[in-house]
Assembly symmetry: C2
Homo-oligomer: 117 residues x 2
DNA sequence: ACAAGTACTTACCTAAAAGTATGTATCATG
DNA sequence: CATGATACATACTTTTAGGTAAGTACTTGT
C-alpha cells in the first residue's frame, strides 16, 4: 500500500506555479475550454445567457454556467440579473476583461501564423 | 446503466475548440503547468536537461521529460543529443518558440496588472 | 390545471493531466 | 567490480476538468 501524498503535491504545485508564473496566472483565468469563446462573444457587447448559449451551441448548460461563474468570480465579467419573470440576465466584460483584448490579439496572431491546420 | 458517450463528446469538443479557437490552440501548445517555465528558461539561451531540472526544482523528471517531448513534438523547442557518455542533451527554442516572446510579454503585462496576490 | 419560457442546479460519471516510485543504459574511474 | 554521472522510461495512482441526465423556480397565457 504505497503511501501516496500526491494530492498535496499536486495542489501545492498548482498554487506555486499560479502565484509565481504570470503566464499560468492568466491561463487559469481565461484558458479553459469555453472561456475564450465566451469572452470573444462579449467583446462585441453585452449578451444574455440565452444568446451566449445560442452562439456557442456545443457547450452544455452546466459548463456554460460554470464558465460564467468562474469568469465572474475572477472579475472578468459582470452579471446583471433583472428581477423579472421569466428571468433576464445580462453578461458583459469588466475593465480587466476588456483589457484581455491586446493579449488575445497576440495569441491569435501566433496561432494563425503557426496553425497550418 | 446509463449509455455514456462522454468520451467522444469530450474529444470532439476538444478538437472542435482547438481547431476553431486560436486562443485554445496556443494555450494547448504552451499553457500546461510546466511549459511556460521551461520556455522561460530557454528564452535566456540553450540549456541542458540537468540545468532545466535544477532551474525548476518542483518539477519531477517524468513531468519535465513529458513537457520537453510535447514542446519538441509541437515544434517549439529543439533537442540536440550529443553521442557521449554520460549523455549530454541540449534544448533550445525554435523560431516559433522564440516567436512566443511578444505573446508572453502581453500575458505577463496583464497578470502583473491584475494579480494582486 | 398545465404548458411555455428563462436561467439555472445537482448528483453522478469518465478521461486526461499530474504525481509516485522505481528501473534502465553507457562508460570512466577508483 | 561497484559507483557516479546523465538523461531518460514505465507501471501504477489520484485529482480534476469536462460531460450526462434530470430537476427547479417563478409567472404569464391558454
Amino acid at each position: 500500500m504505497a503511501n501516496f501524498k500526491e494530492n498535496s503535491t499536486n495542489q501545492f504545485n498548482k498554487r506555486l506555479v499560479t502565484t509565481k508564473c504570470p503566464v499560468t496566472f492568466i491561463v487559469n483565468k481565461m484558458g479553459n475550454r469555453w472561456k475564450p469563446l465566451v469572452i470573444r462573444e462579449l467583446f462585441s457587447g453585452t449578451k444574455r445567457y440565452g444568446e451566449l448559449k445560442k452562439a456557442i451551441p456545443a457547450v452544455t448548460e452546466k459548463m456554460l454556467i460554470q464558465t460564467l461563474k468562474e469568469l465572474e468570480a475572477d472579475g472578468i465579467i459582470n452579471r446583471k440579473a433583472m428581477p423579472v419573470v421569466p428571468p433576464h440576465v445580462e453578461y458583459s466584460l469588466t475593465v480587466s476583461g476588456k483589457d484581455l483584448e491586446p493579449v488575445i490579439n497576440e495569441m491569435v496572431k501566433w496561432s494563425l501564423k503557426y496553425n497550418t491546420h
